[in-house]
């Protein structure tokens, strides 16, 4: 039979795909675990003497470049941005699904917005932020992260709420519950799956956003996606590759772990977002 052979070939292709597609992270992780001296003499993927020195060095230069500061900025702005996107999109999606309000313009607008390069709005937003003092603030960055995520979250909610059974809501109405109560006590609990899935995806997209972080922050609110490159120039002269690699791993770990733990929800959201949009 040829079957076992084909199966072995499948595994081989799978393993090769995993290694090749994840190569940037793998190679960076390997470099981050080598000593500065070894990096200069051994560029292979085999580590002769593994060490955590680079990670210690990253935290030791906190007085000049504070990795925790950048990570905190990313965390705070991403959390606010994702939560705000959900808070804005959830009631709107409900209104569209149940009352038909805004379905003819808000949903197409959101769907099409995903196809528009946001750099188009970046310059006026920069100028607006300058006028109102939102430049280089976590909240200002969070507002943009919300804008980035609102289309996807809205599309996901709109399709999931439309699929919920109407009977439960009607029963609630008969019992005298207003729309707001229904939304909080009936619709939201039934939508927890979608809320969880879309917030994870929104958080990852927020964490990884770069363009607006680059344009709208200088230091106080700089997210780690932008701050990571500061460490490339940290030592003045040549790049300290071990430190740079350790920073990149630290900056990548949160979304990577989330992705591993929640791959099912993320996959479902990405697929639904693509197909429903």
């Amino acid at each position: 039979m040829r079957k076992p052979l084909v199966n072995a070939l499948r595994w081989l292709v799978f393993i090769a795909a995993v290694v090749i597609l994840n190569f940037p992270v793998i190679a960076t992780l390997v470099t981050s675990l080598k000593s500065e001296a070894e990096i200069m003499t051994n560029a292979s993927l085999i580590i002769e003497a593994p060490t955590l020195d680079n990670y210690a060095a990253v935290f030791a230069m906190a007085d000049r470049f504070d990795i925790l500061h950048f990570l905190t900025n990313s965390l705070v702005a991403s959390l606010i941005g994702s939560a705000l996107a959900i808070a804005l999109a959830f009631p709107a999606a409900y209104a569209m699904a149940r009352f038909g309000v805004g379905r003819s313009w808000l949903l197409p607008l959101a769907v099409n917005l995903r196809a528009v390069p946001l750099i188009i709005f970046a310059i006026p937003i920069y100028l607006m932020y300058q006028q109102v003092g939102l430049l280089d603030t976590r909240f200002g960055l969070a507002l943009i992260l919300c804008l980035v995520n609102v289309p996807l979250v809205l599309v996901l909610f709109a399709s999931s709420i439309a699929d919920l059974p109407l009977e439960i809501e009607e029963a609630g109405r008969v019992d005298g519950a207003g729309t707001l109560r229904l939304l909080v006590y009936v619709v939201a609990p039934m939508s927890l799956n979608v809320v969880a899935a879309s917030s994870v995806l929104a958080f990852i997209y927020s964490w990884n956003e770069f363009l607006f972080g680059l344009m709208l922050t200088t230091n106080s609110a700089t997210p780690v996606s932008v701050g990571a490159s500061f460490f490339f120039a940290a030592s003045g002269g040549g790049v300290r590759w071990g430190v740079a690699a350790a920073v990149m791993i630290l900056a990548t770990l949160p979304p990577l772990i989330l992705g591993l733990l929640m791959y099912r929800q993320i996959g479902r959201s990405m697929t639904a977002g693509a197909v429903k949009g």
Binding site: P24, A92, N112, P124, F210, S225, S229, T252
Partner: protein, 289 residues
């Protein structure tokens, strides 16, 4: 629809509407005003109307067209490669995923990494002294190209973008492939179709809508490429890797020409509408998913 619920509905979409007007509508109005004005940081509140000369300047700028051409070519090439590679992997590896669904998580990981960080990582990986790729190429072939030089930068960027986003095509196409009813395949098998014929006559036509959507999403995303390009090469390689997004960013931040930057933004917006119009026209004719 009773009156009260329409009113309630309006209340429920009000926050999102206000938010979009503030962060999208207002910037768009500013874009339009500034694009037909002489404006600098000194007269930002009182732009002076000058007609369409900013647009004329953008259209007359060879770098603008070079950037547009770069984005278009880059977007098309990487999208085609990603769809083909994603389709191949999705179909070939489907039996593995059917038994162990979690395996796909390992192939989705590249999408979790910030493209900006991926760009930075390649600065390390492709570095001539400390990078693993030049090391192994030297070991195996005795030579390696200047990955970020004029001749190779485009290819390097295509590979970088493709490796990160083929997982997206794989994910969407895998779920579309897995959704094909076994009945359909069984019926086709009864009629004598198997292997390649089963794939080309049954699976592929059924997956066409998903393939189309995947291609458009990848095209839209890679057309506006900024992050990995900026962190890996910047405007480097003699300007041969300037995308539309990079062009606008530089016109604004490096040159300080606000009028030119917003005029280019508006042209990009028009181009996006054309693409959207094409997509809507194409998908409207096909059967819905």
């Amino acid at each position: 629809m009773p009156r009260t619920s329409r009113f309630e509905g309006r209340l429920l979409i009000a926050p999102l509407t206000v938010f979009l007007i503030a962060l999208l509508g207002f910037p768009l109005v500013l874009d339009i005003i500034y694009s037909i004005s002489r404006v600098g940081f000194e007269n930002i509140r009182a732009p002076e109307p000058i007609g369409f000369s900013n647009y004329a300047k953008a259209i007359a700028d060879p770098e603008f067209w070079a950037a547009a051409w770069f984005s278009l070519r880059f977007g098309l090439i990487v999208s085609v490669i990603q769809v083909v590679a994603g389709l191949g992997l999705a179909v070939f590896l489907a039996p593995l995923f059917a038994k162990r669904p979690w395996l796909i998580a390992l192939l989705m990981l590249p999408m979790m990494v910030a493209p900006a960080l991926v760009g930075l990582m390649y600065r390390l990986i492709l570095h001539e002294f400390v990078g693993a790729v030049p090391y192994y190429l030297l070991e195996w072939y005795g030579d390696f190209p200047a990955f970020l030089g004029r001749d190779w930068a485009f290819t390097t960027l295509v590979v970088v973008e493709t490796l990160q986003w083929t997982p997206f095509a794989l994910l969407i196409l895998h779920s579309s492939y897995a959704a094909i009813s076994p009945d359909v395949r069984e019926a086709a098998a009864l009629d004598g179709a198997r292997g390649r014929r089963l794939f080309f006559n049954i699976d592929l036509p059924l997956m066409m809508p998903a393939i189309g959507i995947t291609f458009f999403i990848r095209f839209i995303d890679s057309f506006r490429v900024f992050d990995n390009l900026y962190t890996l090469v910047g405007p480097g390689a003699g300007g041969s890797t300037t995308s539309m997004s990079i062009y606008i960013y530089q016109a604004f931040f490096k040159v300080g020409d606000i009028g030119l930057a917003v005029a280019a933004s508006m042209l990009l917006l028009v181009a996006s509408f054309v693409v959207l119009w094409l997509i809507n026209g194409l998908t409207a004719r096909k059967a819905p998913l």
